[in-house]
Symmetry: C2
Subunit: 597 residues, 2 copies
């Protein structure tokens, strides 16, 4: 097991340079996000992550959450760790002070989320879902609902869940069958939900389930779905807990990873029906739930980044400590750390480059979320919102695919020891694998990307992004540091490739959606790969500018430039391969008949 | 759990068309490999695989092998299944009839190995290691050793193991410390070995360990290593079992996957030292062991292919059965099988294309092994041996990386169910992950490729291969079926890219081995990707030629052409990306300093 060392310098760099946190702090309401406060938040969060959450990661995996007749016990240490989390007020970081939050930027909250997830992915899922419930109620809840539920959800004293999936309704949420019947001021809910993360546990005194259900006579599909608050314990008018609601956890799933996180089969309404409170209007539940889902999609992307960082740290430690073989050049018979072997070094540097690009993309998306919420100018808000919408599927898919890839490479660095559970590399590999699946599979993200984010606005948001990249590259080309300007050739070519692929996607999508959809996943990957390179190049330029002074962190800053180079040389070429597959490969992937598969 | 359906038509096609089995059958000693016999071998093996081994795959994973005070119990059903395997004479397929084998081509034995491994990877490891021991003794054993050990190893009544690794000696085998001291006609062995696959079990009455150890005063490193036969039970002159040797299994590893396969920590010589018999000469053990390792490396590559095929079948079945969502085009509100969704179809067709390319490469390498052993002409034998040597790291690395990739995509097709252990997709994902590690990590394969296989002969074997590809493409360009000739553009460009990358590797390797080594892994991948495409194009051409007649299997044959197209459009573009990383990325991956990682 490797200790987790919060990469605060890297995080701070990405926040300042790529997410432009100092500018975000100028937005109305964010005045408190001073450099000093940001430092202190990151320091404190890093300490909790490293000292309390990280040590429970492996033991939580080995022990797992356990089910006993409706009761779920989280692994040893989890309830106490969660109490520390609540005590620190960490749940409320980005939320409205009116509901007990601290009103800090989402960009900062995203960085803090990375820390929780690197430390303990299973643990961090619980606050992630609670956060989704909070945002949902902040936007769609009635004043009464906000008064009753928000304060305790914001502190984390109560936790939230998201109940969409049923056996016959996975990616197709519209196929759900859970029923809701009106009864005076509330509804009675009956049905079963599967894959409910932290659906039942012993870390909080109440669990607030956000449940999608269908009213009698509701239209078919997603247009007939309503959203309900269904608390485990009913909440009295004074906010105190009332009777146990008619819902229970029936069983836990036996999963590949995230063993500490209980994945529940939930039954609502075994007796008279669980009491639920409508959120938003009848039959408009999907739109409300999407608030929660978009939030959660960015959060799941951050999980991919986070597990990659943790896995990378484990591999780096192993590669520094493990002596094996001799240096490939020279005649020194002394064994060297495997870090010195070029192939191992390639694995570490390319992992690092991918991680830094993923971090930059996640934080940039979060910064746009802040602008979309807080920019004084409506046009700026709407532009930022369009950018977040465009980036959300990229963050979700590219960071989770990257999490799996990095976790796999990190395991490989360990050689045979990577396959043995005690080193922890295998756990990261197992844990990471859920992230490309939940909150909308990465294939669903790709369809979202080409459908809602590209075809719907006829490429406007994408073109806005490309224009920004182009102008940014034009600036970088004239950078005085030749290492920075040299990055632009490859990036300019990749930009052109993506512009062409985007044109192809727009034209093809307009006349043959099926064919466009067949290319959506590699297109999504290609676009993300370009963005990652662009953001690292921006980082390299900023590092070079700081270096020209008398920087005490010269090695760190040079590392940023060198890492951008690793990316452009080793990872960026995939953008062309993916774009070729997206545009040139879509047709052939559809050509095989059912019996030829 | 999905049933396993042996893909006999695909296997037969790859054997006939890419591995050119009909020509192999003309080689001296292979006359028995008639089409009828080949059919009947594949049929029978397929039956045993599907009916006996495959049903034990999931239960074996759940139960695992268990350790109890030196005794290892394999999962329920394994001993009986192994008895069936022995009864069928399957272990002796490719071996010398003089030792009880059937003397059939390695190409056929490789196809049969695919079946065992698809059915049950953990199970198939046991015969795979036995096979390595047989080949080792066939080549390096004394007549007495051959008489005593070979017959029972060939039948599989006894099984073999490979004891290289020690805690401080993994990839660097030369660092091993196990000691051997001469005592009359035998040696006494003392030391510990780790990661010994099927090192102890209850499926066979004796286990013949092939153990690397060091004699007193032996030179340091790999030049001071000797190889010993160390049987669990000593074997008397009449072949009957004698006393228990001084060796034992100390514990089993807790692993990410292949739970049914016991991975043993072995202790030799707790008391007076385990009795061992020298194979080959003193201090020349590594060369002998390489016989076993090269054999095993091809076998591990086949494991990657095999688990990919099994995972693919699971995903295909799930995608056919699972109704979710509506067709993307048209207005039909009826749910469709997810197989009909373009993104799922892309996953299935690209998996299929990759699998067929992997299969072709493995069988072609095995066919070259047959030529290297049996071609009447010495020059042909030596050319074939150079080809096998070149292909071995490619088969090992590309097929095992592909196994992991396909298993991951197959899991993704299952959505949330893929993460639940009961569907079996997660097992394939876990099991596959060992294959890029053992028998030499894929990074070690890449160094072998550029060092021993490329730089040592200054690119002669690679150029011979490129010339064959070029002449093959020239032929395909004139194919009357336009679908075949259309494959050549992309392949020709990829060939040129690889020729250039190979030149770069030769030049760079001659003056800066460190830099060449930093590009070795992506080079290895790029070269394999080209070969896969070339072999599928050859398959497409053969399919087109058969189609021009009145083929009853027209759909199957058209599928081969369509699959080659999927490969060229979707997978082949990676060759350029990998080649760019290999040649253009090597320098930057070495540029970061230790503290910048």
């Amino acid at each position: 097991m490797t200790d987790y060392v919060p990469p605060l310098a890297d995080i701070r760099f990405a926040l300042d340079v790529q997410a432009e946190l100092p500018e975000l702090a100028q937005l109305p309401g964010y005045a408190e996000a001073t450099p000093e406060l940001v430092d202190s938040v990151l320091d404190e969060a890093g300490r909790l992550a490293a000292e309390v959450l990280a040590p429970l990661n492996h033991s939580g995996d080995q022990e797992g959450s356990r089910y006993d007749n409706g009761v779920v016990r989280s692994p040893a240490g989890f309830p106490e760790a969660y109490a520390r989390f609540v005590e620190g007020g960490w749940g409320g970081l980005p939320f409205d002070p009116a509901h007990g939050g601290q009103g800090l930027p989402w960009a900062l909250a995203t960085a803090v989320q990375e820390l929780w997830n690197s430390a303990n992915l299973s643990f961090a899922l619980c606050p992630l879902l609670t956060q989704g419930a909070v945002e949902l109620l902040e936007i769609h809840g009635t004043p009464l609902q906000q008064r009753l539920f928000l304060p305790r959800l914001v502190t984390g004293e109560w936790t939230g869940t998201m109940n969409l999936t049923e056996p016959q309704a996975g990616s197709d949420v519209g196929a759900l069958k859970t029923r809701a019947v009106r009864q005076g001021a509330h509804y009675r809910i009956t049905g079963q939900k599967i894959f409910i993360t932290w659906g039942e546990h012993d870390c909080a005194e109440n669990i607030i389930h956000m449940v999608l259900a269908r009213l009698p006579g509701a239209p078919a599909g997603t247009k007939g779905i309503s959203l309900f608050i269904v608390p485990k314990f009913l909440v009295k008018d004074d906010g105190s807990l009332g009777a146990r609601n008619d819902l229970r956890c029936v069983s836990l799933e036996s999963k590949l990873g995230i063993h500490a996180s209980p994945t529940c089969l939930m039954a609502y309404g075994d007796s008279e029906g669980a009491i639920g409170y409508l959120v938003g209007r009848e039959n408009e539940g999907m739109a409300c739930m999407f608030t929660m889902m978009n939030n959660a999609r960015l959060g799941v992307g951050v999980q991919g980044l986070a597990v990659a960082e943790r896995a990378y740290q484990g591999a780096r430690t192993y590669a520094r400590d493990r002596l094996q073989g001799r240096a490939i050049d020279g005649d020194d018979p002394k064994p060297v750390a495997i870090l010195q072997h070029p192939d191992v070094r390639r694995m570490l540097t390319t992992m690092r480059a991918r991680i830094e690009a993923m971090r930059a993309l996640a934080y940039v998306a979060a910064a746009d979320l802040d602008r979309a919420k807080r920019a004084p100018d409506a046009a700026a808000r709407s532009r930022a919102q369009a950018r977040v919408d465009l980036l959300t599927p990229l963050v979700k898919s590219w960071l989770t695919d990257g999490g799996c890839e990095v976790a796999s490479t990190a395991l490989q660095v360990h050689g045979g020891m990577g396959f043995i559970e005690e080193t922890g590399a295998a756990q990261h590999y197992r844990d990471a694998r859920i992230t490309p699946i939940y909150e909308g599979t990465n294939g669903i993200q790709a369809l979202d990307l080409i459908g809602r984010k590209l075809l719907r606005d006829r490429g406007a948001a994408a073109r806005d992004l490309f224009a920004e990249i182009r102008s940014s590259l034009t600036e970088l080309e004239t950078a005085s540091d030749a290492r920075v300007s040299a990055l632009c050739d490859g990036l300019g070519a990749a930009l052109k490739t993506l512009e062409e692929a985007t044109d192809w996607m727009l034209q093809t999508g307009a006349r043959d959606l099926r064919r466009a959809a067949a290319g959506a996943t590699p297109y999504q990957s290609a676009l993300s790969t370009l963005l990652g390179g662009w953001l690292l190049a921006r980082g390299a330029a900023a590092a070079a500018a700081r270096l020209s002074g008398d920087a005490p962190d010269a090695s760190f800053l040079s590392g940023k430039i060198a890492t951008a180079r690793v990316y452009v040389d080793n990872i960026l070429p995939r953008a062309a391969a993916d774009a070729a597959a997206a545009t040139g490969g879509a047709e052939s992937t559809l050509a095989l008949t059912d019996d030829q598969l």
